[in-house]
């Protein structure tokens, strides 16, 4: 008890030192000169409450530890029914899900569909980063750079050469993959942390280049008026541009701006399904096994003739291409892109999605992407605190549940 009292006093003291100047005093400008303001009494009350909380939690840390170990950890994996029943209901469940996804947008508001499309983009990004972080165990902190490459690929090709969205999708994915390859090649031979910091830097450099290469990218003003995707050449606008036809004219229905929103949503659903299918195949292929093996024991892999650079590079490149894919769609949906959309915070959000969902788990990542995009919309008044919470979430998750909400279970190959 004396030990923990000493600890508690010490921790409370530290908290006070941490808070006194950074929270208790505020810098502000008065005219042109800098002044300091003492924080109001209410803020000091918060600080003291925080100090008290730290004191108490340290004082009773053993009891709290015992208590928290008694909190049941929800095992979401256990919700899955038995293998035999699962086999029977799985196709039905999937069919119901797909039908639901297709019908749902016609019954809700435009805003909800738009939000769903945004969520689908984050799902795509989360799934892509999940290949890199979750499956291959490589930390990529500049993931948004590949997203930017994809978005600018479409925006520029469409603006200067009149390429269509559908032609640009594979090009964007390939180009992002090429960037991933060039960046990953020198770095993946080295230890993991180097990759983290190099990708962090790369994300920043891409943004600086986009901002300053004004003649081509439009600099901070970005590129606007990017063409929307078409359905086999049918446009989703009120009036057709020269030589084309609009969707509503072709089918002889009334024009509504909602059609475009729903069309974009449906493309996003399609893209997500494609990505999920591809990743599912990857996990069952030799390369998927090699990723897991490399994560478990790199030295054993090398002794068995696996080229670790190639294997890691494949994960890194595939992840990058998924981001390119998502970026291309993002540019098409927004119709306007600027470097502001590709800042580090975006990379952090995508990483938070992967971490929260459970590294490697696809269902987990999808759920986390939904939570991470819908929750901030519902709690707009807390939007200032969003990034603070994400940062905290990463620390807390790594400490108490590093495997995420839905831990990954790779489909294990079994001998029949």
């Amino acid at each position: 008890m004396r030990g923990s009292l000493y600890n508690a006093i010490f921790a409370a003291g530290i908290t006070l030192v941490l808070a006194c100047l950074m929270l208790g005093v505020r810098l502000g400008a008065e005219g042109t000169t800098l002044t300091v303001y003492g924080a109001g009494a209410d803020r000091w009350e918060w600080i003291l409450a925080g100090v008290g909380l730290v004191f108490l939690s340290q004082l009773f840390s053993t009891q709290l530890g015992r208590l928290s170990s008694r909190i049941p950890r929800p095992d979401l994996g256990a919700l899955k029914p038995q293998d035999a029943t699962w086999k029977v209901i799985k196709p039905w469940l999937l069919a119901a899900l797909v039908v639901g996804l297709l019908v749902w947008p016609f019954m809700v508001s435009r805003g909800a569909v738009d939000l769903a499309t945004l969520t689908l983009i984050y799902i795509m990004l989360g799934l892509g980063l999940n290949i890199v972080v979750g499956l291959a165990g490589l930390l990529d902190l500049g993931y948004v750079a590949f997203y930017a490459v994809g978005a600018y690929t479409y925006a520029l090709l469409s603006e200067y050469f009149g390429f269509s969205f559908w032609a640009c999708l594979p090009i964007a994915a390939l180009l992002a993959a090429a960037f991933g390859f060039i960046l990953g090649f020198p770095v993946l031979r080295l230890r993991g942390d180097y990759l983290a910091i190099v990708t962090l830097g790369f994300g920043e450099m891409i943004r600086i280049l986009l901002n300053n290469w004004t003649s081509i990218t439009g600099g901070p003003n970005g590129i606007s008026g990017i063409e929307k995707p078409t359905l086999f050449g049918l446009e989703f606008s009120r009036r057709a541009s020269e030589g084309t036809q609009t969707f509503h004219e072709f089918f002889g229905i009334d024009y509504s701006s909602g059609q475009k929103v729903i069309f974009l949503y449906l493309i996003a659903v399609l893209l997500v399904i494609v990505v999920i299918y591809l990743i599912n195949r990857l996990m069952r292929m030799p390369i998927g096994r090699a990723w897991e093996a490399l994560r478990e024991d790199e030295i054993a892999c090398r002794s068995l003739g696996l080229n670790r650079t190639v294997i890691k590079l494949s994960a890194f490149t595939l992840g990058a291409s998924t981001a390119g894919f998502a970026g291309c769609f993002f540019a098409a949906r927004q119709g306007f892109i600027s470097p502001e959309s590709f800042i580090f915070i975006e990379s952090a959000i995508i990483l938070a999605i992967v971490v929260l969902g459970g590294m490697g788990s696809q269902i987990g990542v999808i759920l986390a992407a939904i939570v991470m995009t819908v929750l901030p919309e519902l709690a707009r008044e807390f939007s200032d605190y969003r990034m603070l919470m994400f940062g905290l979430l990463m620390v807390v998750m790594m400490r108490w549940r590093p495997e995420g909400l839905v831990p990954m279970k790779r489909p294990h190959l079994e001998l029949k």
């Binding site: 030799p286 093996a293 478990e296 024991d297 030295i299 090398r302 002794s303 696996l306 670790r308 294990h412």
Partner: protein
Amino acid sequence: MSQLLLDVNELTMRFGGLLAVNKVNLSVKHRQIVSIIGPNGAGKTTVFNCLSGFYIPTDGSIMFNGQQLAGLKDFQISRKGLVRTFQHVRLFSKMTVIENMLVAQHRHLNTNLFAGMLKTPSYRRLEKEAMDRAIYWLEEVNLLQHANRAAGNLAYGQQRKLEIARCMSTQPQLLLLDEPAAGLNPNETKELDQLIVRLRDEHEISILLIEHDMGLVMGISDHIYVIAQGTPLADGKPDEVKQNPDVIKAYLGES
């Protein structure tokens, strides 16, 4: 059968000021079991690390099938047919036994991404061949009934055997075993003994062995090298080595 499979000349490895391996010569013929023995810290495992490419030797040559190995990367060496096990078992413990076997055959599979996505005939055929090879070797080491268990859940002796089976599935010509009998009980050691001999006689591969179990070494080796403090001390047939006064001195200390 007199041509040398492995011919190591004046292999030297220096870590800063420490001379860990000093001008070691080794040769292994086809279908031969060769052992390296020596007191702890003699540099045996360092020799293995040099041979398998984990260290780049400071000096000396390693000829394998007439090709120079010194300077090649670890994975390139194992692709040439020289594969090793480790002193401490290194399995992919969360993966199943059969998956361990398949990872080892990675380079024999069709790793083209598009082939895998589309399940092309060549992809399926190679996948099946790898599966057959895995089953064959699991049967050889008597682990087939455990194929679907996680490798980490096997008993220690079984893990040792799985590691050897995993190496064998890569179709090597020379197998490097680093203390395969460490931690095994007498029964398991006997089984291992038979397995190693069978690998030489039936599967026609050569084995280079580091081992402390003298019973095992003396019983199965065709040739033995003794090193102490990184320097070659003696070599010869088991009986010759046993009687060599230098060897006795090295093991028992100066008297």
